[in-house]
């Protein structure tokens, strides 16, 4: 059954005089993989923040069939995983990669219960599945950007969410590492039956499993539908206000620019 797990009706977000999201309506079904695409300042992260419960908004938001405000109960929060943009961490910060992954389980444990052997074993199995078991005992701050993003993904998966929100998860990574992280995201989507929302401005590097695109510009939704139609030269050039060419090769669509 493909019921809607996320429903926006006329969602608007204002910060002072700025309109960050302007009357957005949107429905996302269970296990869909949706790309939220647009230039900088389009409102992509704000849209994700509304779902994550980080942002005040007006309009109607329903998650898993229940109407929600910014404040959420713990159960709803637990069903939404969040992978932020790569953030700086002090190389000396006292946390190992495996400990960072295990933090994903603590919301479900509740107060006064510490992660035990079971949570550690689950974290290790997940790290093995994500081909990063060798990083387990390394300090998180000393991992490369790509490795840290994989840890961040694993942490979010260990939370056992139904929806996974990813805010530019491949920003500031080199091309090979971006591809590796995106392939991993596709693998997770297939294996875990998750609903995925991925925010990006990089239309040259999109995950193969992403079948739907929501294009945002200046806080407004300008397109919502099949990703191949969205990836047309005309639509993208208008969105990014820069001439972009698209072409197909080996059954895949590519975007290029001068």
């Amino acid at each position: 059954m493909n019921r809607h797990v996320i429903e926006f009706e006329g969602i608007t977000v204002r910060k002072g005089n700025n309109l960050l999201l302007d009357n957005i309506s949107l429905s996302v079904s269970s296990t869909e993989f949706v790309g939220i695409i647009g230039p900088n300042g389009a409102g992509k992260t704000t849209l994700l923040n509304v779902i994550a419960g980080f942002e005040q908004f007006s309009g109607t938001l329903s998650l898993f069939g229940h109407q929600e405000s910014r404040k959420r109960d713990r159960q709803t929060r637990l069903r939404i995983g969040y992978v932020p943009q790569l953030f700086q961490i002090d190389p000396a910060f006292p946390i190992l990669a495996s400990e960072a992954v295990v933090t994903g389980s603590i919301g479900r444990l509740g107060l006064f219960r510490s992660p035990g052997r079971e949570e550690m074993e689950r974290a290790m199995r997940l790290m093995e599945m994500m081909r990063m078991a060798h990083l387990a005992d390394r300090p998180l701050g000393q991992l490369s950007g790509g490795e840290r993003q994989k840890v961040s993904l694993a942490r979010a998966i260990l939370q056992q969410p139904d929806i996974l929100l990813m805010d530019e998860p491949t920003a500031n990574l080199d091309i090979a590492v971006q591809k590796e992280v995106l392939d991993l995201i596709c693998e997770i989507h297939t294996r875990q039956d998750l609903t995925l929302l991925l925010v990006t401005h990089d239309v040259t590097m999109l995950p193969a499993a992403m079948r739907r695109a929501v294009l945002l510009d200046n806080g407004k939704k300008i397109y919502d539908g099949d990703i191949d139609t969205a990836m047309s030269s005309e639509t993208l050039s208008r969105l990014f206000q820069y001439p972009l060419e698209t072409f197909d090769r080996n059954g895949k669509r590519f975007v290029s620019y001068d």
Binding site: K15, G16, A52, G53, F54, R74, Q75, R77, L78, I80, G81, Y82, P84, F87, I89, D90, P91, A92, F93, P94, I95, L96, E99, A100, T103, G104, I106, G107, L109, L111, F112, S114, P115, P139, Q142, R155, Q159
Partner: protein, 281 residues
């Protein structure tokens, strides 16, 4: 010599000073872990000045300086918490304004205070050797509160220290934990006005945590090392102050700096990173 030492340690005044040193070192250095890992040293400075200003005004009004300091710390925490979460103002600017405002307030109070100025000066640098019974009781209470907080909420604290946004996304009451840290900062700072004073306490809020940062990647060890170095600085400072007859607060701060310097020079973490960089060259 041994008899002399036994006599000294047998003196109730010295015993109380040793107890005060342990409590002061423990409370400040456990809190120091939060100050260092949440990168909020300016909050520590603002709180210590708030405590000092509150204590001076309490003296003006003829009430207990520690209570005055604590009330002012609570007000400051109540203002700083929401302000530092705002995205339209740089936190450094907010803290800079608060810090200078509180310092101005403290000196205004000092200026108005016509009598017992010496008492106000004591609040600046404290004295481990002249603590009263109630002062010690307050320190015991605040230190216990802080230690229990860390013991009961260790896993939540780990995630909040790592990333507050992730903690919120995981369903943790991160705001409650953050505000508890601010509240405990106020309690620790104001209860230590009598031990190391409102100006010097800042060193003990940063240096033990900064020392642990040089030595371990394990958060549990981090708390232990920070606490040991804080207590070590207080006890060695107290000993030096007794032997050389110098102010105890200054001696404690200088010892804390010396311990940090030693940890920095012999840091296995720093040396390992340097070795790695050399291998890459």
């Amino acid at each position: 010599m041994t008899e002399n030492l036994v006599d000294i340690l047998g003196s109730p005044l010295i015993q109380r000073a040793i107890l005060a040193s342990v409590l002061c070192g423990a409370s400040c250095s456990v809190l120091s872990v939060f100050v260092v890992l949440m990168k909020m040293p300016l909050i520590g400075v603002s709180m210590s000045h708030a405590a000092f200003a509150g204590a001076v005004f309490a003296m003006l009004l003829g009430i207990n300086p520690v209570s005055g300091g604590f009330i002012m710390c609570l007000i400051t925490a109540g203002v700083l918490g929401p302000l530092s979460d705002r995205t339209d103002m740089a936190p450094e600017n907010i803290l800079g304004i608060m810090f200078s405002f509180l310092m101005g307030l403290a000196f205004l109070g000092m200026g108005i205070l016509t009598r017992t100025k010496a008492g106000a000066f004591n609040l600046m640098w404290g004295s481990l050797l002249s603590l009263s019974g109630p002062d010690i009781a307050i320190l015991v209470f605040v230190t216990s509160l802080l230690v229990l907080f860390v013991l009961f909420f260790f896993k939540e604290i780990r995630l909040v220290l790592f990333n507050r946004r992730l903690a919120a996304a995981t369903g943790l009451p991160e705001k409650a934990i953050y505000y508890t840290v601010l509240f405990l900062t106020g309690a620790v700072v104001s209860s230590n006005l009598t031990t190391v004073g409102g100006l010097l306490i800042f060193a003990l809020l940063v240096q033990p945590g900064a020392t642990a940062l040089q030595l371990t990647y394990n958060l549990k060890h981090f708390f232990v090392i920070s606490t040991a170095s804080g207590i070590g600085a207080c006890l060695s400072g107290l000993t030096l102050s007794y032997i050389f007859d110098v102010p105890s607060g200054s001696a404690v701060v200088l010892m804390a700096t010396a311990i940090f310097a030693a940890a920095y020079i012999f840091s296995p973490k720093r040396n390992a990173t340097k070795l790695k960089e050399r291998e890459h060259e």
